[in-house]
């Protein structure tokens, strides 16, 4: 047998935790120094975790671009969206060329229309002898940023003011309106309807779900039965009935608000259930009991301890709810029950592609559908990423 170690006594009472070795329990592996992690508040941990989800970050960037478009659609468009040109209908998307004879410089070819003698349809062909140079931050028609600042600067457009021939990146519709510009303005309406409807649903959901979950008893009972009733109603006939009940002479703005309210009145129930469930679970959590025992008031317990705990989940859930609202709006407007022209939304734009003939002759009228797909995908992936990152303590 080898040497017996010295009978050294083990350190006595209240040994101070040595922080070098006692590296903490829960979290690790973030790309940050240990001390930075230790003092990182919740939102930072969520961000660090979200950052690692590449696809979600990419979707976040796409979402940001879409939101920017929704904020200043005029900046991105090339023509006033309502401008009708009966001579330039059903123009297909124009191809953008990036490299001309003198190096880089985007341009499109002018187009000339000829009527097909047999079908009597207009046929548009690019005229390669007439390139139209494009420029960035060019002056065009007048619009207002957020309805406040008048300007005429556009992201992209015909750089030479002398050329009057307009460009159509996504072609024109049956009235010769520029699809690209209409799509930009439609983004504003569709996205804001989704957002406002979700905000309204969250408000209703958090309020009613919170009351239901925190107080319980007969209030809970009534709210739960209400949610069940609302969820049992088939949504499509309800929407149809409600929109049909809207007076025909309402203005575009009035219809717009009515639609958001209708969407959120049906949509808050899921959020309400979610919030109620969280409240019920949190009420039993030790840290909530602990707050109660040190003498915290009820409002403080709710707003300082409970709400922040599920706020990140609410944000994630609402990100996932916006695309549903967008699809609902598109769907209603497509059926002619939601927004009606002259309002421009993605649903209204898709109405143009309602009959087979127009789809066959002008398939580019379906392109707003692509915008819906991209937006919905981006928001869904973003929401998934947020949901995964929302609870960094797991």
């Amino acid at each position: 047998m080898t040497t017996q170690p010295s009978a050294k006594s083990i350190p006595p009472l209240t040994e101070r935790d040595d922080d070098q070795h006692a590296v903490g329990g829960g979290l690790s592996g973030f790309d940050a120094s240990a001390e930075a992690i230790y003092v990182a508040p919740n939102w930072k941990l969520v961000w660090w975790r979200f950052r690692k989800h590449r696809l979600a970050v990419f979707s976040g960037v796409v979402t940001l671009i879409i939101v920017t478009i929704a904020l200043v659609p005029g900046f991105f468009s090339t023509q006033p969206p309502e401008q009708i040109d009966s001579l330039r209908t059903f123009i297909p998307p124009q191809r953008i060329h990036f490299f001309g004879p003198d190096g880089f410089g985007p341009y499109v070819y002018d187009i000339t229309g000829q009527r097909n003698p047999t079908t009597l349809m207009m046929e548009w062909v690019p005229d390669e002898s007439k390139p139209i140079p494009l420029g960035f931050f060019v002056r065009g028609y007048d619009y207002e940023i957020l309805g406040l600042i008048p300007t005429n600067i556009h992201l992209i457009g015909v750089s030479d003011p002398a050329i009057i021939s307009p460009v159509h990146f996504l072609g024109t519709d049956r009235l010769g309106r520029d699809q690209w510009s209409r799509l930009m303005y439609g983004t504003q309406v569709s996205l804001s309807i989704g957002l406002v409807a979700v905000i309204l649903s969250i408000f209703l959901g958090v309020l009613l779900g919170g009351i239901s979950g925190y107080f319980g008893g007969w209030i809970d009972m009534i709210i739960q039965r209400l949610i069940e009733l609302l969820q049992s109603l088939p949504p499509i006939p309800i929407w149809m009935a409600l929109t049909a009940a809207m007076p025909r002479d309402w203005t575009v703005e009035q219809v717009y608000f009515a639609i958001t309210i209708i969407l959120s009145l049906i949509g808050w129930t899921t959020m309400g259930r979610e919030v109620r469930g969280r409240f019920l679970a949190l009420r039993e959590e030790d840290f909530v009991t602990a707050a109660e025992l040190i003498g915290c008031s009820k409002p403080r317990i709710i707003f300082r301890h409970m709400v922040p705990t599920f706020m990140s989940h609410i944000i994630a859930a609402s990100t996932l709810a916006i695309p549903v609202m967008i699809i609902n709006e598109t769907f209603l407007s497509f059926l002619g029950l939601g927004l009606r022209p002259p309002a421009i939304s993605w649903g209204v734009l898709l109405q143009e592609a309602q009959n087979l003939q127009s789809v066959a002759t002008a398939p580019w009228l379906l392109l707003p559908g692509l915008a819906v797909v991209i937006t919905v995908l981006a928001l869904n992936i973003l929401g998934d990423g947020l949901r995964d990152a929302a609870d960094p303590y797991s």
């Binding site: 080898t2 040497t3 083990i10 040595d18 070795h21 590296v23 690790s28 592996g29």
Partner: protein, 341 residues
């Protein structure tokens, strides 16, 4: 180490988890033997790798975990026949491995509520295990099941066989779980903290039952726990683990009455026992267990060790070496065999 043909011989087992945040060496070079009919207690605190060790032996490690290296020599027919087989070489889902799991090596899981399916009767689940591994008819399997339930002390087993797990009390459920593990007369029973979720009086019943069954059938048991009291009561041989490594092994009497490794000694001194002097400060181990991502270099215990040798313990990792006739320890107080790197 006296018996030349151990039932199970784990050699230098390494199981790592590749996570986004980095590699966790959950089990990092673990070696121990289990003799036929022996109760081996693996004891350690959270993060010591005791559960991962037995999951590796059973080859039920789920990704991102993977068995990196080592041998798991299993010798079911005691030296005769084909000799030891290396479980580490099998594919986890291979036919051979599935034939061994449940038949030769059975597991008693920690949470019996989760281990039984709530939609099948416990009898059907035990019979399924029997029919899978033994050439018997359904009727015979049912008979064996009733016999097993009686053996583990389930009252009126002919009725209880048709009960669902949620109809049984915690103690009975744990007994049914043991009956299921014993269904095919395994050579080796692995019990993963089978008594942590239950109360002391039920725990005493279960420990007693395991002891009796082990003596009747001469089954070897690997018993995983963090409770030193349980280890003292049930084990013949003890493996003390800390942060994925074996600190000390030896017969239970030596471990408790002549512990050699500083960790074993400090651990034994720091637990309050039912016999210790009341309201006196206990000796403590400084600091806390490091997170697996922040494993110290060298001996994993050196930052908390009262016998730390500067420039040795923090520079090299000691290997597990015999230090007397009965015990082995990985500690530079006793030898200077370090791991090669």
């Amino acid at each position: 180490m006296s018996n030349p043909t151990p039932l199970l011989s784990v050699r230098n087992l390494k199981t790592y988890f590749d996570l986004d945040e980095g590699q966790v060496k959950a089990v990092d070079g673990v070696s121990f033997d289990v003799q036929p009919g022996q109760v081996v207690g693996i004891v350690g605190e959270s993060g010591c790798g005791k559960s991962v060790t037995i999951k590796s032996v059973l080859r039920i490690i789920q990704p991102p975990g993977r068995l990196v290296e080592g041998e798991i020599l299993f010798n079911p027919d005691n030296g005769g026949g084909q000799g030891p087989i290396d479980l580490a070489k099998f594919d986890p889902n291979s036919k051979q491995m599935r034939a061994i799991r449940g038949k030769d090596i059975a597991l008693i899981p920690q949470e019996p509520m989760a281990a039984f399916s709530p939609v099948h009767t416990i009898g059907n689940q035990i019979m399924e295990a029997i029919l899978l591994h033994q050439p018997v008819t359904k009727k015979e399997a049912r008979q064996i099941t009733i016999e097993r339930l009686r053996e583990v002390g389930v009252p009126s087993p002919q009725d209880r066989i048709d009960a669902y797990s949620w109809e049984l009390s915690g103690g009975l459920r744990q007994r049914a779980m043991i009956a299921m593990a014993l269904a095919c007369n395994p050579k080796l029973l692995i019990a993963d903290e089978p008594t942590t979720a239950i109360d002391v009086t039920t725990q005493a019943q279960i420990l007693n039952l395991l002891r009796n069954l082990q003596q009747q059938h001469n089954t070897a048991i690997i018993f995983i726990t963090h409770d030193l009291g349980v280890i003292a009561q049930i084990a013949d041989y003890v493996v003390v683990m800390y942060l994925g490594r074996v600190m000390e092994t030896g017969p239970v009497d030596d471990i408790f009455h002549a512990p050699q490794h500083p960790y074993t000694r400090a651990l034994l001194e720091s637990i309050p026992t039912i016999q210790s002097a009341p309201r006196e400060p206990l000796p403590t181990i400084a600091g806390s267990i490091p997170h697996p991502f922040n494993r110290p270099p060298g001996c994993p215990f050196f930052p908390r060790c009262p016998d730390f040798i500067p420039d040795t313990c923090n520079a090299q990792t000691p290997t597990l070496q015999p230090i007397n006739q009965r015990q082995s320890a990985s500690c530079f107080l006793y030898h200077d065999e370090a791991e090669e790197n």
